[in-house]
């Protein structure tokens, strides 16, 4: 704990000194959140959202598979009959990654094939698309991340419970089904957020 406090407080001190320097030398308006939101390219928001959607989903699915896989392999040493049935937990985790890929494909159809130059890019529709893709992708990614971890830990304990008593497996599978529905929730909300977005289109009149 002391280790992290040392570096954390150093970074905090650096940030505060930079902020005070800017404030006292007259450029305190550099901290402009609205200008940041307006000046960042909508393509950047959209691409980051797509990357987060698939990246965090695969992170959750991979985490779940490694936890479950380790338990299945360990439990299968003493009780080899659990090996085939517990692959169901692995498939549940994999479905979470598929959700992320589907969302990434849906979102990337909104990007368009020809890049738009910056003097025709900053329209209200393009801002909307950029923000919606970013936050929709983040929503889907975080939901799938935690869903994958949930299904993974539940699946690993299902494997060990199955090794001890075969009748427990179906009951623990119900818990896994509930866990995997959460990934579906994230996907539905992500689709709702980006359902009304238009693909990136150039502005009618070009700003010189």
């Amino acid at each position: 704990m002391g280790y992290y406090n040392y570096y954390g407080s150093f970074v905090g001190l650096l940030a505060i000194s930079i902020a005070l320097y800017l404030l006292f030398t007259g450029s305190g308006e550099a901290f402009n959140v609205a200008r940041f939101l307006e000046e960042v390219n909508p393509y950047m928001w959209a691409m980051t959202g797509i990357g987060l959607a698939v990246g965090l989903s695969v992170l959750g699915a991979g985490w779940g598979i490694f936890v479950t896989g380790a338990s299945i392999l360990g439990g299968g040493v003493r009780a080899p009959r659990i090996r085939t049935k517990n692959l169901i937990s692995i498939i549940f985790c994999e479905v979470v990654a598929i959700y992320g890929v589907i969302i990434a494909i849906v979102f990337s159809s909104k990007i368009g094939s020809t890049p738009i130059p910056e003097n025709a890019l900053y329209t209200a529709d393009n801002y909307y698309t950029g923000f919606a893709l970013f936050w929709g992708g983040l929503t889907v990614g975080l939901c799938n991340l935690l869903c994958g971890i949930t299904v993974g830990i539940t699946g690993s304990n299902a494997a060990l419970a199955d090794a001890a008593d075969p009748q427990l497996f179906v009951k623990v599978l119900i818990v896994e089904v509930f866990g995997s529905i959460m990934g579906l929730f994230g996907l539905i909300v992500g689709l709702l957020m980006t359902g009304a977005t238009q693909p990136f289109t150039a502005a009618a009149s070009v700003i010189a």
Partner: protein, 79 residues
Amino acid sequence: TRSVLVKLALFTVCLGLAPISTYYLSQKYLWDGNSTYAAITSIIAANFVLVTYIISAVRDDSQSQKPAPKAESETKKDR
């Protein structure tokens, strides 16, 4: 156990191919370009593959466990 691995590999490939192909095909032929309905269709396809795998895995497991109790009951009759 080799057939189990083959079945798992086959289902994983299906789980990868079915939703994405369903998305593109249904977007083109069913929903007239609407991407949200196509995504919902592909989710239904992915869950369909998942449920099929669960049913076949449970059925395989109950089949591999049935011959053992049957052999035991025959030996009890022999006595």
